[in-house]
């Protein structure tokens, strides 16, 4: 498996980041953790986009993952990071399996809008739920790691390490998956469902599975985000969150998992910088960049890289 150059590169960067983790300045580590949490959600979205589906509602599962980790600590007394993340995986898996039955029948703008509607329902519910802190959300417990409880600032180092291993680990597995039978099935469904049906495969089955997987990855990202920031709130399900995931996917391009992870990191740094110098123009900035990408770089930054490599 390591003979594949992409896999090798991902593995090397993963190890390097884990090793570097303790030595990074705290702010950088935090931005990096959030970026990788987003990367997990966008890696899920990548599966959908390669199937030809744009979801404006991945925030739904991102939020479910975050709240599951929060509730697990607050109401179930759990502190183990893996258990908290597992709760999110189970919750998102069950909910997406059910919603997926409805959504796998829809494509294009219907899929985009229905997924957005579902996440807005959750946002509405959480905003009104007194028990879960309504619009303010609530704080998440300090996690432990399989019985080990790091002290003070070290917790964040561990969360960062966990984020790196998960994001790059998922990246490596997905890179493999994209070239498998089910991976190609996505592109086949995107390009021509009739042909897929006449090759004996149900297009809805493919879409359903990709939807559930994308949901679980978004929940994983949401869980990491909750552990990193120590707080969850309903804005995790708001349309802007889902919109940022779509933005990252378009920014990087869907040709390679590396494009997604890089784009998530670039995005988080630019966000940190822009929101500091001008807090009220961040969305406008996003909107303008989005339009520029659609007009001039429809396959994302990765295509630029590929073009440069070919030229040299």
């Amino acid at each position: 498996m390591l003979r594949d150059r992409s896999t090798l590169a991902l593995a090397i960067v993963m190890v390097a980041l884990v090793v570097a983790g303790p030595f990074l300045p705290a702010w950088l580590r935090f931005v990096g953790t959030v970026a990788l949490a987003n990367a997990l959600a966008v890696l899920g979205l990548l599966l959908l986009i390669r199937t030809g589906l744009v979801s404006f509602g991945q925030g739904l599962y991102y939020c479910i993952g975050g709240y599951a980790a929060g509730v697990g600590g607050k109401d179930l007394g759990l502190t183990d990071a893996f258990a908290l993340l597992a709760l999110g995986i189970v919750a998102s898996g069950i909910i997406s399996a059910i919603l997926g039955l409805l959504l796998c029948r829809y494509r294009e703008i219907f899929f985009a809008m229905f997924s957005m509607a579902f996440s807005m329902i959750l946002y509405g519910l959480l905003s009104k739920s007194q028990k879960l802190g309504s619009t303010d959300g609530f704080n998440v417990v300090t996690p432990t790691f399989l019985g080990y409880a790091p002290d003070g600032a070290n917790v964040k180092v561990w969360v960062f390490g966990l984020a790196v291993v998960l994001a790059f680990g998922v990246g490596i597995v997905l890179h493999q998956h994209l070239r498998s039978g089910m991976g190609y099935a996505s592109e086949a469904v995107r390009d021509n469902e009739i042909r897929v049906e006449y090759l004996g495969v149900s297009a809805q089955y493919v879409v359903w599975w990709k939807y559930v997987l994308a949901a679980v990855l978004a929940a994983l990202g949401g869980g990491i985000q909750a552990l990193a920031s120590g707080h969850v709130g309903p804005e995790m399900a708001y349309w802007t969150t889902s919109g940022e995931f779509v933005f990252i996917a378009l920014l990087g391009g869907t040709a390679h998992v590396g494009a997604i992870i890089s784009a998530a990191v670039i995005f988080e740094f630019i966000k940190t910088w822009v929101t500091q110098i001008s807090p009220y123009t961040w969305q406008m900035f996003l909107g303008i960049v989005l339009l520029v990408i659609i007009m001039f770089l429809p396959k994302g930054l990765w295509s630029l890289l590929a073009r440069m490599r070919r030229a040299s």
């Binding site: 597995v173 493999q176 998956h177 070239r179 498998s180 039978g181 089910m182 991976g183 190609y184 099935a185 592109e187 086949a188 995107r190 390009d191 021509n192 009739i194 042909r195 897929v196 049906e197 006449y198 090759l199 004996g200 495969v201 149900s202």
Partner: protein, 259 residues
């Protein structure tokens, strides 16, 4: 020639869309290894018939029996698993993928019971098989090309090649030569029919060119306004008065319009 056992029996098939009747009481038998030409003007019900047999449309009434089991109302993905495959009038391909990837996907989907989640689709063994199929259909030299860049003839051949991956017992070809340049029609049919005869599959093909029908069919079925107008040996059907008036007459008219 039609000496084998019956493999497909369509009995009393009709299909209506609201007030429009697209097919009316169609009864057709196809025997093992038989090659049947289907003629008829546009809107005569030929494609509707293929769509019903392969599950794209559910017949309003009637039954379809394939090798003794009832396949009426099955979905396309279930029908192809029983051994009935088809090609399309407008080739149904994956516009952003290469020719080789098409064959790999077809092999992966039709041959495997379950698609792999991690094991690569592109294995040396699959590639060998895919290239061999492409070679048989004379399009191996295009293996690396993205289909949206290829001429119609190559796309049609790829469309048919994908339909034969499952080694069907019955192959339905919907206008295999439509959209193909006139001088390429005969070579294309030569390639396709050579493969089908070699595989011993039965084949039913829709065709507007009477020379091609005469050249390859053992039997001809003529459709007119959703009904079967005539069904029998090639010479008899093509000489039938009604067929000459309603079907062949309009085909000659069509040719003139094109010229």
């Amino acid at each position: 020639m039609s000496t084998g056992n019956t493999i497909l029996e369509a009995k009393g098939l009709s299909k209506s869309f609201g007030a429009v009747t697209a097919a009316k009481d169609i009864n057709i038998l196809v025997h093992e290894g038989e090659i049947v030409g289907v003629i008829g003007s546009n809107g005569a019900g030929k494609t509707t018939f293929i769509n019903m047999v392969t599950g794209y449309l559910k017949p309003t009434t009637g039954t379809i029996t394939f090798r003794g089991s009832d396949i009426t109302g099955l979905l396309p993905r279930q029908v192809v698993r029983t051994g009935v495959c088809r090609s399309f009038q407008v080739s149904q391909l994956f516009r952003e993928l290469t020719v080789l990837e098409h064959m790999l996907i077809a092999i992966g989907m039709m041959r495997a019971h379950r698609l792999s989640w991690l094991a690569p689709l592109h294995t040396p063994e699959h590639e060998r098989h895919a290239r061999e199929m492409l070679a048989r259909y004379t399009i191996e030299q295009h293996a690396g090309a993205v289909v949206s860049t290829l001429p119609q003839g190559v796309r049609k051949l790829l469309d048919i090649a994908m339909a034969t991956v499952a080694e069907p017992a019955l192959l339905l070809l919907d206008e295999p030569t439509s959209g193909v340049a006139i001088e390429e029609k005969f070579p294309l049919m030569q390639t396709v029919m050579g493969q089908i005869v070699a595989s011993k599959a039965a084949c039913l093909f829709v065709e507007h060119d009477m020379e091609i029908v005469e050249g390859y069919a053992h039997r001809v079925i003529a459709f007119y306004e959703g009904r079967v107008l005539a069904d029998g040996p090639v010479k008899d059907v093509l000489a039938n008065d009604e067929v000459r008036k309603y079907v062949i007459g309009s085909e000659i008219h069509r040719e003139k319009e094109k010229a």
